[in-house]
């Protein structure tokens, strides 16, 4: 029954990646920038959960969402907003700087040793397969988040304004959409998603350090790119694909240490064959 376990593991990892990737892809689609600090917002969320966990897990989760949103807004207002309209290279370098800043700030305020919590939600037996409750919750929650986000973007006024801004910022502004406000909303949603992902990651890894979010962040970005950055279904597809690759690699002992290398190699191959990812739209550069 290894096969079923693998599929469920893949879905669980993929769901987490998909949620992080949604944050990347929405920010990229609307603000046209790569938010390198997204992974570190996950770290902020992780620390908040660990901090509030002794009070109550639910308080921890809510606090993590609130705190992540605050950090997201502060980062957007202070570091990214002044550079709106500047060259993409400058914005990218600033984002890298913010990422390093959050990491080192966490190390200074909280310390370099990792903090841990213990959570045991038990297991469910389904026939001959044992599945942990956490895995099931992760899968269900990520599906719920994706459905909710899709509905939000499709049917609410703000969501449609987001689509408009991502298609053509100038035209959207002429139609009376407050572009800065929409970008801020995007960052808020992205940070909230990062907080949700941090809940899954903390409960799974049970150990938070300053670079807790860096690797999941980079991998989720790879997932967003594989699926086609800027596209919401693309992020979900990319996340699940990457999750399955990780689950398969985890099943075969000789290649397990090379999991990261294999994932990145697949990213490079996908980009070379189809530079826009699976579901991304091709943009023609106009003169």
């Amino acid at each position: 029954m290894d096969f079923i376990t693998m599929i469920i593991n893949g879905l669980s990892i993929g769901g987490t990646y998909a949620i992080i990737a949604l944050g990347y892809t929405m920010v990229y689609g609307i603000a046209k920038m790569l938010n390198f600090a997204h992974g570190d917002i996950i770290m902020v969320g992780g620390y908040t959960i660990v901090l509030f966990f002794p009070i109550s897990p639910v308080v921890g989760i809510i606090a993590s969402v609130i705190f992540c949103v605050i950090v997201g807004i502060v980062v957007e207002k202070s570091a990214y907003k002044p550079l709106r309209g500047a060259s993409p290279l400058a914005v990218l370098i600033t984002a890298i700087g913010v990422s390093k800043l959050l990491q080192s700030a966490a190390q200074i305020f909280i310390g370099s040793e990792s903090k841990g919590i213990t959570v045991n939600l038990g297991e469910i037996k389904m026939g001959s397969v044992k599945i942990s409750v956490l895995t099931l919750i992760t899968i269900l929650c990520s599906i719920a988040v994706m459905v909710a986000l899709t509905l939000f973007v499709k049917y609410t006024k703000t969501g449609r304004a987001m689509i408009a801004v991502s298609e053509d910022r100038g035209a959207a502004q002429l139609m009376g959409i407050n572009v800065n406000f929409i970008i801020m909303i995007t960052f808020i949603i992205g940070s909230a998603l990062a907080a949700v992902a941090s809940v899954f990651l903390v409960f799974k890894i049970q150990d938070v350090g300053p670079i807790f979010g860096a690797m999941p962040g980079i991998k989720a970005f790879a997932a967003a790119v594989i699926g086609g950055i800027g596209s919401i279904p693309g992020a979900m597809v990319g996340g699940v694909v990457l999750g399955f690759i990780e689950a398969v690699c985890g099943m075969i002992p000789p290649i397990t240490p090379y999991t990261d290398a294999i994932e990145f190699a697949i990213l490079i191959i996908v980009l070379l064959v189809k530079p826009t990812g699976f579901l991304g739209k091709k943009r023609r550069e106009k003169v």
């Binding site: 920038m33 400058a90 700087g97 990491q103 990145f264 980009l271």
Partner: protein, 393 residues
């Protein structure tokens, strides 16, 4: 007059060679005259590696305008493959480890292997731009790190690191001198490349790829060339590093190291080779001095400091709202004010052929709009004198 011009040309184009050669001479004299502390020569060695890395990254980031986040990966390739070749040669052959020939072979192998990887990464640069390319280079650096970390003990030493070759006598001293010579080689290749037609083509691609293509510049060739050359010099820096540090560990060349080199390039000013050299030197010295004071957990204040500098500097240099402020108060304006207090019309400014400060689009517009000055002549009639700026009456 002519001698003055030649002198000016020399100071403009060859000053950095002279300064580096002078520093090297001072180093040699000091090393012979006084017993030099091991830590001092180690610092010099680190500086030479950092300068080569920064100058080679500056070629990609500052002049081609593409962000590379995997520059340490190329260095890693150079260090591991060059070091391995040197080890194999000294263990199996009858060559001595101190042999300069072994070092040169290692240097060539390291540079070639890194250049090959640069070709592969550059190949992806043909299809991808900006953020996508940045993530590919990041992925490349991580792949290299994972592969070397998980290699078997016989091949590349795995997580414990590769035992690296060394010179026997006064090794650090010799390595520093070789390092200085390699900096001169790097400068010679990269500066001459940038000062040539090829260099102008590269900066044209940076400013507007479509326009460059339209004017007949072979974008494919130039992009690949930049990536290959930049990677080759990173490989050379890697071989130099492998001789000085033992064992070589793959984790040294991680994402953070790539970022540190990027900070050097950004701090020095993108598109300025001399700036990269200065900032690489300063940051390496600062790193070295700070590790003395910031021990243990405090070491992270250094990272915080660099991150802040990176953010503030990029915002200051690029924020559209700060444009007027930036043009009024900058280092170059200050230097010009000190050097030429009066506005001397015989001074040629905004010369497009200057290699070290390639004019940006905005500057070009200003040059075009102010190049021809129309002024009324002395007789006061309507026929205007048109003269080019720089021409005398």
């Amino acid at each position: 007059m002519k001698a003055k011009k030649i002198f000016k040309k020399i100071t403009k184009h060859y000053l950095n060679y002279a300064v580096i050669a002078a520093v090297m001479l001072v180093f040699i004299i000091l090393a012979y005259a006084t017993p030099m502390k091991a830590s001092t020569s180690l610092l010099f060695q680190k500086i030479t590696v950092a300068v080569i890395m920064a100058v080679s990254l500056s070629l990609v980031v500052g002049f081609l305008g593409e962000l590379s986040l995997g520059h340490a990966g190329f260095m890693s390739i150079g260090a591991y493959l060059g070091g391995k070749v040197a080890l194999v040669l000294t263990e199996n052959g009858n060559l001595e480890a101190s042999n300069i020939l072994v070092f040169i072979i290692a240097l060539i192998v390291g540079a070639l292997c890194a250049a090959l990887c640069g070709f592969i990464v550059g190949f992806s640069a043909l299809r991808l731009r900006g953020d996508y390319l940045a993530i590919v280079t990041l992925a490349f650096g991580e792949i290299v790190r994972v592969i070397f970390t998980n290699s078997s003990a016989e091949s590349f030493g795995g997580a414990l690191g590769l035992k690296s070759p060394s010179f026997k006598t006064k090794e650090m001293f010799i390595l520093v001198i070789i390092g200085f010579l390699l900096i001169l080689l790097t400068l010679f290749v990269i500066q001459n490349l940038l000062r040539s037609k090829t260099g102008r083509a590269i900066t044209a691609i940076r400013d507007n790829e479509i326009a460059a293509r339209a004017t007949g510049i072979d974008v494919t060739k130039h992009k690949l060339m930049v990536f290959v050359i930049s990677a080759a010099f990173a490989g050379i820096a890697g071989v130099l590093f492998s001789y000085a540090n033992k064992p070589i560990k793959a984790d040294t060349f991680d994402y953070n190291y790539s970022i540190e080199i990027l900070v050097m390039v950004v701090l020095g000013g993108m598109g300025s080779i001399n700036g990269s050299i200065i900032s690489a030197t300063l940051i390496t010295i600062l790193n070295d001095k700070l590790t003395v004071y910031l021990t243990g957990d405090n070491a992270v204040f250094k990272d915080l400091f660099y991150a802040l500098i990176l953010i503030l500097l990029v915002i200051y240099n690029n924020a559209p709202a700060l444009k007027g402020f930036r043009e009024k108060y900058n280092l170059r304006a200050l230097i010009n004010k000190i050097r030429k207090p009066k506005n001397d019309p015989s001074e040629i400014r905004g010369d497009a052929a200057r290699w070290d400060v390639v004019p940006t689009k905005i500057e070009m517009d200003e040059v075009l709009s102010t190049d021809i000055i129309i002024e009324k002549n002395d007789r006061g009639d309507d026929s205007a004198n048109i003269r080019e700026r720089g021409g005398t009456k």
